[in-house]
């Protein structure tokens, strides 16, 4: 119970701080954010958009881990865990795409411009979509679990390729891209201590939220399966 209260307070604090703390040229107080060239007030999206993108990747990774576990042990509970994680990943993937597109309209001038990271999140959307299409096509439980596990593993090993290919083919627009002269590289994104702290608090908060949602999701699916087996 304690960690639920902590989670509530954490995300409430991140929302308050992330939205209302003013951005000033030279931060003096603890509650002021530094001005990042070329971003201005738009910079605040980092507290909400980046965690959703981060969760998309984490959910995909967890789904693959449980897929491997399923193939090793053939336990259908692992398949349910992988599937719930993929569902959550899809939700956060859509959220990240939409928040990113809305932000891009105001920061870059158009909703979609095939920036490397936009392309890779699009690829992730396609992968999740294909995974669900495959699942809905197979009736037998064991077969469905094995096929979707294999597919999610193959899809996961293509992800590193996107990281190497995208920056070479397209110019990056995201803050922190290699050729970004305003904000510099990702590591030193000109965030000061308190901005970084709130950013990481947000990441932690969203990760706990993901874990909780995943737990509730897979338990409910597990009991549904159990009841189905009892009454049929």
């Amino acid at each position: 119970m304690i960690w639920k209260i902590v989670l509530f307070l954490l995300i409430a604090f991140v929302s308050i701080a992330g939205i209302t703390f003013p951005i000033v040229a030279k931060p003096e107080h603890w509650y002021e954010f530094p001005l990042i060239m070329g971003l201005g007030e738009n910079a605040k999206i980092i507290f909400f958009h980046v965690p959703t993108a981060w969760l998309t990747v984490i959910a995909f990774f967890m789904s693959t881990v449980y897929s491997i576990k399923y193939l090793r042990k053939k336990d259908l509970v692992d398949d349910i865990k992988a599937h719930t994680s993929a569902q959550l990943g899809m939700v956060f993937c859509i959220l990240a795409t939409i928040t990113g597109a809305v932000w891009a309209k105001f920061a870059w001038g158009s909703y979609w411009s095939w920036d490397p990271r936009q392309t890779s999140i699009f690829a992730l959307l396609l992968i999740y979509g294909a995974l669900f299409a495959l699942r809905s096509a197979v009736e037998v439980e064991e077969k469905r679990a094995a096929l979707s596990a294999v597919y999610s593993i193959i899809a996961f090993i293509t992800v590193p390729f996107f990281i190497f290919i995208m920056p070479r083919i397209m110019r990056g627009l995201h803050p922190g891209s290699a050729d970004d002269t305003n904000a510099g590289t990702v590591v030193n994104f000109q965030m000061n201590g308190n901005m970084l702290l709130i950013f990481f608090l947000s990441l932690i908060g969203f990760t706990i939220l993901y874990y909780w949602m995943w737990y509730v999701g897979y338990k409910s699916m597990l009991y549904k399966e159990k009841l189905n087996k009892q009454y049929h």
Binding site: L71, E142, A146, I153, A155, T158, F161, F164
Partner: protein, 219 residues
Amino acid sequence: MSAYALFKKDLASELRTRYAINSLVMFIVVTISVILFSIGNEKISDFLSGGLFWVVIFFSAMSGLSRAFVSEEERGTTLTLQLIASPTTIFSGKLLFNLILVFAMNIVVALLYSALFDAFVIKNLSLFLYAFILGNVGIAIASTLIASIIAKASSKGTLYPVLSFPILLPLMLTLIDLTKQAMDTTTFSSSYVELAILGCYDVVMIAASFMLFDFIWKD
């Protein structure tokens, strides 16, 4: 039963019915003529024609390569195959067949395409050739594995491009980029990384395919 024997069996049955070959040839003709109609008398840029080349190849591959395992399911010979050969042998045999099919198909596409499109001029032929060979190998491996998944899923045709596209996307993007470079310059020096990416993709995919095929094949 060896992989080569399985390949010969597939080749013999393919030469008898000519199902895959016929549908592939027709598909190539249809796709290229659709592109030609839609272009009309417009002049398209060189880079666009390079990208369209891989579009033709992707969709032709999607129409012909799914047959590999579906044909066994249709004829009801899956169980016999499971009895007489190990999964690795079966996958090698099917992969060999698809490799030949992909190479034959893509050579035809390349010849037709360069004859029909004036804008499609490759300056650096050897670079294009390396990309072409590595790309074809990658397409054959990925599509053979997806074909085996499709054969086990009950819906046969429609899912195939949906499942293949995300897997082939990194390969396609690199190939389109390499084709641009081959049309642009005659030097090699800037393209080593892309060729390395293609090579890595092929190696990773073939390793993953042989590891995962057991799980698909055995119900």
